[in-house]
Amino acid sequence: MLESYLKSRLIEKKILLMTHIVLGYPSFEECFKIIETMVDAGVDLMELQIPFSEPVADGPVILHANQKSLAEGSTVKKCLDFAQNVTQSFDIPFLFMSYYNILFKYGIDRFAVSMAERNMKGAIVPDLPPEEGQDYLDAMKKYNLDPIFIFSPTTPDERMNYLASFGRGFIYCVARKGVTGLDTDFSEHLDKYLERCRRATHLPLALGFGVKDKNDIDFLKGKTDIAVIGTQTIRLVEKEGVGAVGEFIGSLR
């Protein structure tokens, strides 16, 4: 479902944009405004991160956003309620991103039901390799949701094929080593990696980690299908407020 949506969008656009926000940061009200602005500015899909106390794959900016959201009283229930409101209000696909313990404690099947009821399209769970994720894979399939799997530059070709056999919707390609929000060197090195990713799957490819401006996105055109902007918009909201988001997103394509 998500795959066909993305492929139809790609007929009109050279590259799609996916953005990432941490739910409840700076607040749920402001999250709603950020989403509204992003959708108006032409973002094609969004990942909504349910905060977790131990976000090991995230760098300082998203880590602090997780901690502050929790300190302000965010709960899984509030995130689910918010998601319901968002999917009813905006006409782009939304995904959840969170760490496995959030799904595990909620109950994997129950979580998948909640996602389907709220018209969420899929999930990205960065600490859940398919080897550990049978229950998750079963539940996602049962409710027609897309589990998004991740390639990294350290993933051998054979394992890329293995991961792609479980993935649906698209594959999230991590641009480099390290955590979210650090600089990425957009160079030939990345080309070779993306070629490897492309050979491993027929699914659209998203590239994230360190994508921050128009130059980066221009570089990625023709090499990846989706550019992921995560930390950069969170930084922007922190520095200049929600009002700056629209212009920033508009400047990217």
Partner: protein, 408 residues
Amino acid sequence: MINRGYYDGFGGAFLPEILVATFDDLEDKFIKAKNDPSFWKEYTDIMSTYSCRPTPVTFAENLTNYFNGARIYIKREDLNHTGAHKANNVMGQGLLVKRMGKTRVIAETGAGQHGVATATMAAKFGFKCTIYMGEVDVQRQRPNVFWMDRLGAEVIPVREGTRILKDAINEAFRDWVSNMDTTHYVLGTACGPHPFPEMVSYFQSIIGKEARKQMLEKEGRLPSRIYACVGGGSNALGIFKGFLDDPVELVGIEAGGRGLDSGLHASRLSSKDASIGVAQGYKTYFLQNSDGQMKETHSVAAGLDYVGVSPILAHLKESGRVRFESATDREVIDAMSLTIKKEGLIPALESAHAFVQAFKEAPELSKEDIILINQSGRGDKDIFTVADAFDDPRWKEFIKKKAEEYNA
């Protein structure tokens, strides 16, 4: 990722994709080393020359007479180089790092013992070294920070989250995902993703191997009960592993903090406050809320102040093979004080948790019974915390004078 490292449903390897290849390589090197008979010999050789292995068992005659029950023996892991069992794991992983050809090591530390041990290993083997330590622990374990600095390690205070052990582990993982080509993460306890629980308890099993032999030599029979404190679980697993197939009751003691009812503790297996979850790459009992967010923990002993626990111990709890108890901060100070006075031994605050439970049970046992306590480390490092607990006026006077000297 072939072997998932499960212990009856606990454990696993919940890894971000970027680390999968690193863990595959680590497991491969570890299995090869384990199957190479010369590796264990190399390991025991270095432990007998660089550290102080085999560490003795000491018969605690005065405590035995005082409690008038079971004969009390103490396994002296405090006599290792750097003063704790941590050296066992660190030197073992150091030998693996050499085999892997890496040039830098990183580690988390709570009490600072694992950090100091890692820093000495790095100095000896010529590795660069970075230690992550929660800001709260940097404050309460200052002497160990001083030694890590002297040993040439870079100590990074972690200001995220609860600013203790779990947060230091998160930061070490964040370093590792950037630098895995040159760097090995020397995880300090039998937790984390596979193969760490297996690997750390493999190196620590030297404690139990020695202790079993020593008890047979001294007494001609095995102890009826063995006591060990449980933070992540590495010293406990180390000694327990020597006795798993014997008719010996194994008792793990967790940090009861200000009491199990206070909520201010770090008891995952002996309280009702923990539930099964997945964090820091493995599945076990965690102190977490109903949403799966980790809670703050509390203990007078920084080394036990941790939200999770070894998946191997979670399994041994479920199977009933190990009994778990807890000791409060107050009980720990009292047990430490008694041990110092009666035996002239200074257990670390962590280790003193094991003494608390042994002292509760010794009088109820017969004089024919033998009990063995694992003194996982020495208490010198705790001088500031213990001085506060004793409210020692002469110590305070000394610190004030010292501060004046620095201000002058």
